[in-house]
Every structure is written in structure tokens, then in C-alpha cells.
């Protein structure tokens, strides 16, 4: 029987791969959970597009400061060594290739690493892009965290994105509820699979051809 990863488990799995000393931007939603699971012996410096480097955890109740918020407009704290800067510089860091990693949510990722994460196909509500395109275009590496399929079972890893694109060819690694997959010029390589899942099952729930890495292993779930 296959054990799909919960959202928390996806975040926990991705957190294990963040290198010590990395400058990282966590996108809205699932990626924000990652900060809770980075191993304690690693120092990771979190960036927020509204002008903070060195964000710490959420403040204790009663100590919230309305002028210390993250990109999701949640209250944050500053760690020793944190810095504040204005928006244009925050995006110099993003667009200019100074961030080591961006962990983002997505609607779809294509075989070539195209990312669709900013607009749905619903034209009744106003569109909103925020910093998604800048981050996708500028970070040294983009990792995506998402459920492997939609709620009704359609693949989110696809040959070509059907949702509006955020950026082309930027995603390097995908952490899903079923697998860890590297996006390479030679195709999508499955590095890890959820315990009990067969490669054929995984391929059946994926909209683009996968290759199983020689050294693949089951995802370790605590």
C-alpha cells in the first residue's frame, strides 16, 4: 500500500536538502512550512520580498509588530544579523541571482522545468502576480513543492503547462506527495518515491515521461 506524503511531510522532506548557509526565499503556502523543519545545526538565511533578510520565526502572541511581516503578510521576527532594505534592493537580490534557492508552490511543472504558479484559468477574479515571476526568473535554483496530482487526480507534472506560465525552464527539483524528481536536460529523474509506490504507479499519475534514477530510494518519512 502506498503512503502518500502529507503537506507537512513534503515540507519536512524538502527542508532536509537546504544547505547550511543558504539564502532562501520561501513562497506563499506550502513552502512557508519548510522553515519549521530545517535541521537545527544548519544556519539558513530567509529573504522576504518586502525587504528583510534574516527572518526568524513567528512572534510570541502579544509581541507582533505590524511593520515586521513576510510576503504572505504574516507577522515575523528578526534574527540577530538581520537586515532591512527597500523593495528595489529586495528584488535586486531576487532578480540578480543572489538568492541560492527559491522554494515555491505550483499548479503545474512541465518536463522542461516550466513553472505555472501565478494564475488560474478563472477570469472572474482579478489576477495577481506579486513577486512570483521575479523569483522564478532570478533565483539560482527553484524547487517546487506540491501535491503530485490535483484533487480530482489530474497530473500536475505535465508535458506542457496548461496554466499561464510564470517562467520557462527554471524548476530544478520537484518535491511532491509521491516523489522527489530532478528536472534535467535529459528528462525527469525520479530520485525518491513514496514507500510502497511502484514506478509504474507513479508514471501513471504523471503527465510526462519519467526515468528512474539508478540510485533511487524510498522517501524516508519520520
Amino acid at each position: 500500500m502506498t503512503t502518500a506524503l502529507s503537506r507537512t511531510q513534503i515540507a519536512r522532506r524538502a527542508a532536509q536538502d537546504i544547505p547550511d548557509g543558504a539564502y532562501v526565499n520561501l513562497g506563499i503556502g506550502l513552502p512557508t512550512l519548510v522553515a519549521n523543519f530545517v535541521p537545527k545545526d544548519r544556519e539558513v538565511i530567509y529573504h522576504s520580498e518586502n525587504g528583510i533578510l534574516g527572518m526568524g520565526p513567528a512572534p510570541a502572541p502579544g509581541t507582533e509588530d505590524p511593520d515586521l511581516i513576510n510576503a504572505s503578510k504574516q507577522y515575523v521576527t528578526l534574527l540577530p544579523g538581520a537586515s532591512i532594505f527597500h523593495h528595489t534592493d529586495a528584488f535586486v537580490m531576487m532578480r540578480g541571482g543572489h538568492l541560492d534557492l527559491a522554494l515555491l508552490g505550483a499548479f503545474e511543472v512541465s518536463r522542461a522545468g516550466d513553472l505555472a504558479n501565478w494564475a488560474t484559468l478563472d477570469d472572474k477574479t482579478p489576477p495577481g502576480v506579486g513577486g512570483a515571476m521575479d523569483l522564478a526568473a532570478g533565483a539560482k535554483a527553484v524547487w517546487v513543492l506540491m501535491d503530485h496530482t490535483t484533487k480530482d487526480g489530474r497530473p500536475r507534472i505535465v508535458e506542457h503547462c496548461t496554466y499561464p506560465l510564470t517562467a520557462r525552464g527554471v524548476v530544478k527539483r520537484i518535491y511532491t506527495s509521491l516523489a522527489v524528481i530532478d528536472v534535467t536536460p535529459d528528462g525527469l529523474f525520479v530520485r525518491e518515491m513514496a514507500p510502497g509506490l511502484s514506478f509504474d504507479d507513479l508514471q501513471a499519475r504523471t503527465g510526462a515521461p519519467l526515468r528512474l534514477a539508478n540510485d533511487w530510494r524510498p522517501i524516508a518519512i519520520d
Partner: protein, 228 residues
């Protein structure tokens, strides 16, 4: 003597014309110049184009300005922040025009205007719907989209401290768009929680030099933005 202080909020926003492009600082509810926005509402200018990262939330400040129907067009990156009910209603009714710009491009377009540049090439948005119709150029093997400068007639800014020359410091992440907007408008208007003596601000840590500022009004107890 150079003295940019004005006595009242009404003096601060005097002369803003119908049809003006108004840059409004802030991100979410942080750094929003609430009192200046309400002064602009009272002043009555209409047919405005507003440039701000979000579309206001609740019923006060930016949302209140939108609700007056005097904003023809909003240029922003993310009008979907929770509680952006006024904008959503106007948008659904077709009563406001939206120009959606990636956040870094929005900021850099204003910086370009302030810096006297004719635009810039950015990798942001290449191959997406937001680059449609724009010039794309390959530079050193990578594709870039050409973006034009975005200049304001007016900028509304909230600062923590100011002096009479208009030198500014901010508080925490409330700084966000303010330094860029201050340099990108013909008339930069600042509400400061505190106005200090000339020389009291450390020259090494002034964030916005006074040359970018035209008027400063003292608002000692600024209201929170985005209230119901």
C-alpha cells in the same frame, strides 16, 4: 531657509490635480500612508491612476480611496490580498482598470523613472502573458523583456522620522516601496510620525535623502491600515 514642513494634512495634499498618477507606498498593511490617503480623499482629486503594490484591504485608506470611484486605473502586482473586497467589487463591475505588473518590475520601473533612465531589460516575465506585446531582446544568450519607466505626479509616503530638509528614516519593513517612490514622483509628500531637529538624524543611516522629498507633515499617531 529650506523648510519642507507643512502644517496640516490639507496643506500636504494641496494642488494634486485631476488625472494625476499617484504612487502610494506600502506592502499589505505595512507602510501605508493612511492619513495622507484620507487627506487626498477629502481634497477631491479624481480620475486618478494609483500605483501601489496591493489594492487595499478592509474599508479604510486605499480601499476607501478606491470606493470613492475617483481611481480610474490601478497599477499593482497583487490585488488579491485577503480583504481586498472594495477592489474586487469594482473589478467585477468593470468600474476600474487594472494593469498587473510583476512586483520587481513595478519597483524597478519607478526606480528607472527616478534615476532618469529610459527603461530596462529584465528576465522577469519572459515567455509569459505579462510580456505579451513587449520587445524581447537576447543579451549574452538570455532573453529579456523591455520595460518602460513609471513616473508619478505625486508620491504619498509614510516615514518614522523626518527633518525639515525632508531626510527620512523608516521603521522595519514599512520601508518597502517608499524610498523608490520618493525618487520617482514630481511631488513627494511624506507623513512622519516624528519630526526631529536638523542634524538629529545620523547621516550614515538616512535612508531617503531630502532631495527626493517635497513636503513633510507631522502625523504623530498614525492609524493602522486596512481596517473594517
Amino acid at each position: 531657509m529650506l523648510d519642507k514642513r507643512v502644517k496640516t494634512l490639507a496643506d500636504a495634499v494641496a494642488g494634486i490635480k485631476d488625472g494625476a498618477v499617484v504612487l502610494i507606498a506600502g506592502f499589505g498593511s505595512s507602510g501605508i500612508p493612511v492619513e495622507l490617503i484620507h487627506a487626498l480623499i477629502d481634497q477631491g482629486a479624481r480620475d486618478l491612476t494609483v500605483v501601489s503594490n496591493n489594492a487595499g484591504s478592509g474599508r479604510t485608506d486605499l480601499a476607501a480611496l478606491l470606493a470613492t470611484g475617483r481611481v480610474r486605473k490601478l497599477i499593482c502586482s497583487y490585488p488579491k490580498t485577503s480583504g481586498s473586497v472594495v477592489f474586487e467589487e469594482l473589478y467585477a463591475a468593470g468600474k476600474i482598470e487594472l494593469e498587473l505588473v510583476p512586483q520587481g518590475t513595478l519597483s524597478e520601473r519607478m526606480r528607472a523613472a527616478g534615476a532618469g533612465l529610459g527603461g530596462f531589460y529584465t528576465p522577469t516575465g519572459v515567455g509569459t502573458d505579462l510580456a505579451k506585446g513587449k520587445e524581447v531582446r537576447k543579451i549574452n544568450g538570455r532573453e529579456y523583456v523591455f520595460e518602460t519607466p513609471l513616473k508619478g505626479d505625486v508620491a504619498l509616503i509614510k516615514a518614522e522620522r523626518a527633518d525639515r530638509w525632508g531626510n527620512l528614516v523608516y521603521r522595519g519593513a514599512a520601508r518597502n516601496f517608499a524610498p523608490t517612490m520618493a525618487m520617482a514622483a514630481d511631488l513627494t509628500i511624506v507623513q512622519a510620525r516624528e519630526i526631529v531637529e536638523l542634524g538629529a538624524l545620523d547621516p550614515e543611516t538616512i535612508v531617503t535623502p531630502g532631495i527626493f522629498v517635497d513636503r513633510v507633515v507631522h502625523v504623530p499617531n498614525p492609524a493602522a491600515a486596512g481596517q473594517p
